[in-house]
């Protein structure tokens, strides 16, 4: 048991002159120029995507409200006109085809 704990200690204290292998490794990774470049790229990507989202939102609002004002009444009115035309056609064909009804005596 004691040797077990010793082993552990030995594992970490094997390079006792330095800070520790894990700390050294992580420091090496975080201080490298590659990490800096990646961090900068990630920041830029976040900034650009935020701006893109905002401008897409603005464009969507603009397009949506303009569509609502200009196109929706047009669609509704054209639909009504078509319905009115169909009704009229139906009525005309009905009146045209049936013979005049004489009142029952």
């Amino acid at each position: 048991m004691s040797s077990f704990g010793q082993g552990k200690k030995r594992g970490s204290g094997a390079n006792n002159d330095d800070v520790g292998i894990m700390a050294r490794l992580s420091r090496a990774v975080s201080n490298s120029p590659i990490t800096d470049a990646t961090k900068r790229a990630a920041n830029d990507a976040a900034y650009v995507s935020k701006k893109l989202l905002k401008s897409t939102g603005k464009a969507a609002w603009f397009a949506g409200t303009t569509f609502l004002i200009l196109v929706v009444p047009l669609i509704i009115e054209m639909d009504r006109e078509q319905q009115f035309n169909e009704l009229e056609l139906q009525q005309r064909s009905l009146l045209g085809s049936s013979p005049p009804l004489s009142p029952p005596k």
């Binding site: 409200t65 004002i69 009444p73 047009l74 009115e77 054209m78 009504r80 006109e81 009115f84």
Partner: protein
């Protein structure tokens, strides 16, 4: 001679005679040109689509005819009115007024008067003295000093030209002349002079119209250039576009609009290069009963105006 003519061209003489016949029909008779439209209605078709009378609030108009020539009108308006402000902010004040009006309409004489509850009086007179000469006058009187104005126009209509002389208060003088040059093209010129601001200007205009389209252009020495084009796509639909440029100020505006005239309704919509869209719908609910919806969205100034109304008679 006939033997020398190759067989492929034997049909040409017949076609040439037919073409000569149609050319004779189409040859314009420069002595019988149609009378042009009045100068102030140069951009009439474009303005109908692109400048609908949008309003904000409630509007109710009731016109009752008492006679064949005489009618009274009652009108109620409730809604915010914009005050002209120097800053970019739009200042709106809720107002409400009732307007009483009387119209007398005769073939030769037309009198229109409107009296509002906020103390304003509008009057318009149109008098056809003879077939060719007509006098128009309009006046707007208010309670506030120096805000009333009036104007008189004398119009003379010739065979293929029209001329107009305009005199307004505040020593405003204007004259315009429009002449038909071909059956489709008419050219016009105008000059004006204001005594109050000591400004004078001269302008030229041209209008080309056919059955399917109307194109009009106007240039003035005040720096305004206005071009408009209207195409009648079908008998129900017409599309219009307009370009206005002020070369003194450098202000440019282009707009595109449509005008749908259906049986039950009339729908007009337009979109601007200033980020302003407007729509105006007049729907016929019943005989003599019209329902009006108006919308105007200005995305740049973030100003939204919606109105609804009813017109009876």
């Amino acid at each position: 001679m006939a033997g020398l003519v190759p067989p492929g061209t034997t049909t040409i003489p017949a076609d040439a005679s037919k073409a000569a016949h149609t050319k004779a029909e189409e040859k314009t008779d420069y002595m019988n040109l149609p009378c042009p439209i009045p100068f102030e209605e140069l951009h009439r078709e474009a303005l109908m689509s692109l400048k609908p009378e949008t309003f904000e609030g409630l509007r109710f108009d009731f016109t009752k005819g008492l006679n064949q020539k005489f009618s009274l009108s009652h009108s109620v308006f409730m809604g915010p009115t914009e005050l002209p402000s120097q800053s970019a902010e739009t200042i709106k004040i809720p107002t409400a007024h009732y307007e009483f009006g009387a119209n007398f309409i005769d073939p030769n004489l037309m009198l229109i008067g409107r009296m509002l509850t906020d103390g304003r009086l509008n009057a318009r007179v149109k008098w056809d003295l003879t077939d060719n000469l007509s006098v128009k006058a309009n006046a707007q009187l208010t309670n506030e000093p120096h805000m009333s104005h009036g104007m008189v126009n004398f119009d003379y209509k010739g065979k293929d030209y029209r001329s107009q002389l305009q005199i307004g208060n505040g020593s405003l003088f204007g004259a315009s002349y429009i002449q038909s040059v071909t059956p489709h093209l008419s050219l016009a010129g105008e000059i004006f002079w204001t005594g109050q601001h000591l400004k004078s200007g001269i302008g030229y205009a041209a209008r080309y119209e056919t059955d399917k389209m109307v194109a009009a252009g106007q240039v003035a020495s005040t720096g305004m250039v206005a071009l408009s084009y209207v195409q009648k796509v079908s008998e129900k639909v017409s599309l219009a576009s307009d370009f206005m440029y002020n070369y003194m100020i450098g202000d440019v505006t282009a707009s595109v609009g449509y005008d749908y005239i259906l049986r039950q309704c009339r729908l007009r919509g337009k979109i601007d290069s200033n980020g302003c869209t407007a729509a105006y719908l007049e729907e016929r609910l019943n005989m003599g009963l019209n329902f009006i919806l108006s919308a105007e969205i200005d995305h740049k100034k973030k100003d939204y105006k919606f109105g609804f109304g009813l017109t009876v008679g």
